[in-house]
Symmetry: C2
Subunit: 221 residues, 2 copies
């Protein structure tokens, strides 16, 4: 049986979970308290991070490398377009969310409010939370601008870029940090992706000590 | 004419420069003081970072997305193997260097010593420099361990992973932060990659205010 070592609200784990589910690859989810640096886990992944995917006798880390591998080995349904220019745009946006959005928003809101408590690293710094709350507006506006011109974030088809974005947005929505009144475009896009069967498993997540927002699992939010 | 907006010691720019040179794609290098947030530059890349590649009427950002695009459109010489498992390993290692190594070593040594001065952000923090100097040892040992089993970092052929690693290592070697006595394997690997014609342009870099180390441009270091 395939196994994914993960933590529920990690956007990088969520991206991989969405790709696995969309491609109908069955996987057993194992919660991994990676910050405790269990030696067994470090043997599986010297980088000491989640997600780690155990599949067909291989152990894989790094969410984007995993997603590209899944795309190459299980091509249906495709999550990367065919033309190099379009594939570039998908990969650029994956990096946008996993690097820029992650650093400016996810670490400032989710990690301050949730991860710090779980890993016993202290209390949220209000300076960071404020910076994150400001930055997410700019990012939602950028998504709005993209979605004015495109059906999905990177173009006409749903791709890895949508999953990368939805992975971050959904984790932030769990803690009520997404203002759904800011852009009808972005809300429509999220409603479309949230109602996919691949999303169900994420919407059932429960993190002890943190109740999900009222709209988190609601498809008519 | 193709154009690459870059800064000389940026490892992400160096990775793209190596790929362009290896694939014999001619490009004009334009130094971009990205930290000054010039509006023209921000129009080219809303992420406000280098590298930005202008090629065939397209403007592209995000080094890994650019490298994958170049690999798909100019396949010779190949910098990704054919088998999905091997491609996974290349991408995992690119992420290792551009994410983990970058965060633990490059930001702690190069950014503290050089970028802070250039961007007038203050003085190096000795706590960070110490942490970086400690972390690079672990990373050189990891490279040593990989190179005990493989000709190149990701396997039998030279790939993007070698360029990602050499991009960071070469920038750190400019400021004398690589201990070449630590591993003969790593030194041999770097000597091989440093003597490639694609590397010449990097070895000619000069950053005002920072003299390169004596061995920086020396092929018999």
């Amino acid at each position: 049986m395939n196994r994914l070592y993960h933590v529920p609200l990690s956007p990088f784990c969520r991206k991989v979970r969405l790709v696995l589910a969309e491609k109908k690859i069955e996987v057993e989810l194992v919660e991994e308290r990676y910050w405790e640096q269990d030696p067994d886990f470090l043997r599986r992944n010297p980088a000491g991070k989640v997600p780690v995917l155990r599949m067909g006798g291989r152990t894989m880390a790094e969410s984007q490398a995993i997603c590209e591998y899944l795309e190459e080995t299980v091509p249906e349904p495709p999550l990367l377009p065919r033309k190099p220019e379009s594939r570039y745009e998908v990969r650029r946006l994956c990096a946008w969310f996993d690097d820029k959005f992650h650093q400016e928003v996810t670490t400032k809101l989710l990690y301050e409010r949730v991860n710090k408590k779980i890993t016993k690293e202290g209390y949220p710094e209000s300076r960071n939370v404020k910076a994150g709350a400001k930055a997410i507006k700019y990012h939602l506006d950028y998504m709005h601008w993209l979605l004015e011109q495109r059906r999905w974030l990177a173009g006409d088809m749903m791709t890895l870029a949508d999953f990368a974005a939805a992975a971050h947005i959904s984790a932030l929505d769990y803690i009520s940090d997404v203002d759904w009144h800011r852009s009808a475009n972005v809300k429509d896009w999220y409603a479309k992706i949230k109602s996919r069967p691949a999303f169900r498993n994420l919407l059932a997540d429960q993190v002890p000590g943190f109740k999900p927002s009222v709209q988190y699992a609601d498809l008519d939010f």
